[in-house]
């Protein structure tokens, strides 16, 4: 063993003075070998470092997912922190808890579109075109409402979708199959309206009022109420909503936007013109 070590040392010494004529062959032969060995060592080092980094990251995520966090925050006083941490005493017993997974129970007034409401292919097309899709029917009403937020659900960063934001309505007119949330529907049977600013995203449903009025936030364009019956847009104030509920069809729309079929909407890009109906004015 010592001899081998000495041999290696001698070889190394000889190679280190490869300018001597007798050592050129060895230098030519072992030089590239050492380079290769060095490269392999470097690759292995990088791989080991990457593996360690992966383990550290995985451990970090597990650590953050492991111990329960404290409800105290940096803004809380000591007394508040103590109050939120204090174990519950004599809290009233409430009704049975819903299961942790699955559908949210107790959604009074809303029937959600079932998983087979659209075919998988059509659902994918809708999501690609209009972003996050919300689909439901207000209880007692015979029309399905579909909202496309105009914002991609799958992009790693906030991004718009090619079709922009839409509100779509399918009227069942008493057809039991149509009213069934688990029956398969076609988007082509929906009537589609674009919001006052079709490129303003996200289009968000804030609330419903009465049987057929939706309160929708059209990003910075403002807040609007949408009459599902007429597919018209009105101001989003309380007085405007109350008037719409009391006297449907007698109010002046805040914005008139073109309507189209579902099939047309899927193939159309949203208009990019200035949204004239935007900012009807706070409080108006």
């Amino acid at each position: 063993m010592p001899a081998r070590l000495r041999s290696g040392s001698a070889r190394h010494h000889r190679n280190s003075i490869s300018g001597r004529p007798g050592n050129r062959y060895r230098a030519a032969r072992y030089g590239p070998t050492r380079e290769r060995a060095g490269r392999v060592a470097a690759v292995l080092s990088v791989a080991v470092a990457a593996a360690l980094a992966g383990l550290v990251l995985a451990g970090r995520s597990s650590a953050s997912a492991g111990p329960p966090g404290s409800p105290c925050t940096g803004q809380m006083s000591r007394a508040k922190c103590s109050a939120v941490q204090q174990a519950a005493r004599n809290l009233p017993v409430q009704g049975p808890s819903p299961p942790a997974a699955g559908l949210a129970p107790g959604m009074p007034g809303v029937t959600r579109c079932g998983p087979a409401f659209f075919t998988a292919a059509e659902a994918k097309r809708l999501t690609s075109a209009f972003g996050l899709i919300s689909c439901f029917r207000l209880t007692g009403q015979d029309q399905w409402i579909l909202l496309g937020s105009g914002t991609s659900t799958s992009a790693p960063r906030p991004a718009g979708t090619p079709g922009g934001a839409v509100v779509a309505v399918e009227r069942c007119r008493g057809d039991e199959t149509c009213l069934n949330p688990d029956a398969t529907h076609s988007f082509s049977s929906f009537a589609v309206a674009r919001p006052p600013d079709p490129l303003g995203r996200p289009l968000e449903l804030q609330a419903v009022a009465g049987p057929s009025v939706l309160l929708l936030s059209n990003a910075r364009c403002g807040l609007f109420s949408f009459d599902v019956g007429s597919l018209q847009w009105y101001r989003g104030t309380r007085s405007a909503v109350d008037a719409l509920l009391a006297h449907p069809g007698q109010q002046r729309p805040a914005a008139v936007t073109p309507t189209m079929t579902g099939a047309q909407a899927l193939g159309a890009r949203p208009p990019a013109g200035p949204p004239s109906a935007c900012s009807p004015g706070p409080g108006q």
Partner: protein, 268 residues
């Protein structure tokens, strides 16, 4: 390791040896496993056990253990301060664990943040005065502060600082949530806005989930009352799916027992 074994490991006839190849494969395999295994480590733990859900002032209560009064923008918008006050107090009087949600928007309150401060103070004072059990049952406010609603970051930060100081003075557990769209701001801006609130971020997309996880990784804010859209298309309507994308833990307070919550939004 000996000089010879080092040579035999790294070079034989000028090429890396089989042992070196096996080592490389093993190490790269371990790296691949850690990378592939990482997404599974993002699920909330402990996960939620119950839900809180919206109800409109004057309407029926949801069947979930947590009830969220959907007060929206106040001012000239859907519900008045008085309606929100009454809905909050009635829910608490029914022994429900209650949160009062408000969505600040200049469209609804032209006077801006100053006016929101006074409205929130009025609701706070009314609830504390008229609901004796508020200290145990009222978790305070949930401020839906989205970039699309029109207020800038500095104004929302000002509002949140005010609400923090207000709620710090309250005798019970009540505090405030921020229900925000975390991907709508830069990460540092989002972190500044939410301040020391309880986090209830909307997670309706991959980029929202990424932003929530980035807040956890970067700023250590890892406890979230994740907001799920109850009428979104699958899989985004599933609390189990959505919270499975989120690192850290689900929201809880000792004052509300061992239950852990997620927040389900539905149109009301």
């Amino acid at each position: 390791m000996t000089g010879r074994s080092r040579v035999s490991l790294f070079a034989r006839h000028g090429r890396p040896s089989r042992a070196a190849g096996i080592c490389a494969v093993l190490v790269l395999g371990a790296w691949a496993i850690t990378v592939l295994a990482a997404p599974g480590a993002w699920a909330q733990s402990p996960r939620y056990t119950v839900k809180m859900q919206d109800f409109a002032p004057g309407a029926g209560y949801p069947g979930t253990p947590g009830k969220v009064v959907e007060g929206l923008g106040l001012g000239s918008c859907r519900y008045s301060v008085a309606q929100v006050e009454t809905a909050t107090v009635n829910s608490i009087r029914n022994s429900y664990r209650t949160v009062t949600e408000i969505s600040p928007q200049p469209y609804c309150v032209p006077a801006g943040i100053v006016s929101y401060k006074s409205k929130i103070h009025a609701i706070y004072h009314y609830v504390e005065t008229h609901a004796p059990r508020a200290r145990a049952l009222w978790a305070g406010f949930m401020l839906d502060e989205e970039p699309g609603f029109g207020f800038g970051a500095s104004k929302l930060e000002s509002l949140n600082r005010y609400v923090a100081s207000l709620m710090n003075a309250s005798p019970g557990l009540s505090w405030y949530f921020t229900e925000n769209q975390p991907n709508g701001w830069s990460l540092s801006t989002y972190n500044s806005i939410v301040g020391g609130s309880w986090l209830a971020p909307q997670v309706y997309s991959t980029s929202m989930a990424n932003a929530v996880n980035a807040e956890c990784t970067t700023y250590g804010r890892c406890m979230n009352d994740v907001t799920v859209d109850g009428v979104a298309s699958a899989p985004w309507n599933s609390p189990a799916h959505v919270t499975g994308l989120i690192s850290g833990s689900s929201w809880h307070v000792g004052a509300w027992g061992a239950r852990r919550f997620c927040n389900v939004w539905v149109p009301v």
